[in-house]
Amino acid sequence: MFQFINTLLIGITAGSIYALMAIAIVLVWRSTRVINFAQGGLALASSFVGASILEKTGSFWIALPIAMLAGALFSAFIEFFFLRPLLKRSGDKGEEIFLPIIATLGLLGIIKAVLNFIYGDRVGVIAPPLSDKGFIVSGESIALSPMRLLILGTVFLLMVVLTLIFQRTNLGLSLRASSFAPEISRLAGVRVDVIRTVGWAISGAAGATAGILQTTNGSGSITPESFEFSLLLVFGFVAAVIGGIESLVGAVLGGLTLGIILAIILMYVGGSLVFFAAFLILILVLLLRPHGIIGSKGGRRA
């Protein structure tokens, strides 16, 4: 029982990071109908920025916002200079749907090459700012530490901020409108192109946070070839699909569900099956509930 609760706690922490990545994927999908396969690379690049700032200033609390800002800038840059011209050119021809996918793959390669060039063999270190020793409950250490609380708190805070932006501000209304009906929004005076770039920027910031938290929760260090960030992208995608890929709340629920299931598999079945399990969950969800666990029946077909 004790072990099971610990497994749940580990799953919830990991899941909340997947949820952030899922949010990043959902935001990009809602604004441009593209899955950004460079999202993991962007998170990696922002985490490197964070690691450099951390090295210079020694403060995690300065490094995190700057990394988020960097992520937002990177992401907006990519949208503005690559995706926007590409979608304008191939916009009408549904046949060439794979072009944006390939373009983001190319960007992923370029990001990795540039990171290799700048950092080479150096390792980016992001040490946890708080203790990651578990709290002691009735004489035993549980899998909940100040650091894990910080991760959960950050994700929760970002969720609240994003929800407020989306539900209570004009910007959020424009974001929702231009993803729902771009033509009508344009007629109503919304500058859809700008709004899309903003959507990408927020997504970049969310991805950067996911990257930094994943690093502190995991090995504490990153390299340009980090496999963890490919995993982060895949888990984020699975979480987004579980949540119906359209909704922020869905993304969070999807992330938590995935995190808990994977933690249970890791603890009770076998560590090397975790990645494949993620694939199976993805297939099952796409076949049984293509609109996600909370999506409405009338949603988009998978």
Binding site: I35, F117, A278, L286
Partner: protein, 336 residues
Amino acid sequence: MELSEVKVVDVHKPQITNKHRFIGFALIALTVFILSNSVDEWRAFQGATVAVYVVAIASIILLTGYSGQISLGHGALLAVGAYSAAIAQINFQLPILLCFVVAVITTSLFGALLGAAAARLSGPYLAGTTLALAVGLPSIANQFSFLGGEQGISFDVGWPPLSFGEDFTQYKWFFWIATLAALISMWWVQNILRSRYGRTWRAVKTNEVAAELAGINIGRSKVLAFTVSSGIAGLAGALLAMTTNNVSPSVFPLALSFSLATGAVLSGVNTLGGVIIGSVALVAIPEIASLVADRWSGSESVATLLPDLIVSALLILTVFLAPKGPIEKLRSRHVK
């Protein structure tokens, strides 16, 4: 508008008959024969690698270019082929030719299962799903002992027959086998693309609704394309295992899947004939890049990053400048 375009192309395109194709294939075989006798071990190995890529990329082009389904996870299918060939050899002591057949059949079956799910997914979903497969599948090897874990299991096609002479090297033998396999599979793919099935796939890709109205069973057509593509990918996997002598998760990293997708885009996903461009590019670019890096900078980090940078830049350039691939680009310019 579109119809007239098609007509123009048809008028200018000389009719390619089976005889022409046979002569072309014979010429390729002859070239490889001469090449393999005049190059050193390393070039022979590179030649074999090119042939492996030809098979693998042809399977992606069949799937993406002709049936309209995208796959970022073909590395996983190669892994299925490689592992089944190796298991057929080690656990069942089958002769080597049968091992390749087993690889094709097993991977086709796996592909049929996967295709049944894939047929219901559209572009980005399918891309993400196949990506998840490429990440997830190879690590299964660590769970089951008969798959050999991280060290992997061996796959050994053996030395070339003695009758070929004393100085017939191992890599030259690989080069021959891989080229023969590539020629056979290209011949077969060309035939199937010109058959009823090929036309069905293109119809579904161009316009699903129209294809359905014309009486085509869309789901079945997509699953069949996935099955055929997987079978060819399985062959490529067994060939790849042959050149590395070993089957382990590290032979099939995510980077392999990305390279193959890149190769397919550089070849032009809609033209099977371009497959050689992408395959040669995948092998030649790292080599050229390291030459360039040696000459102009000598820095270690430039030498390691340059290939990736060039490949990725080419990928993006292709997407922007020649989205249908270099061959289509040249052809359309020629017609105009």
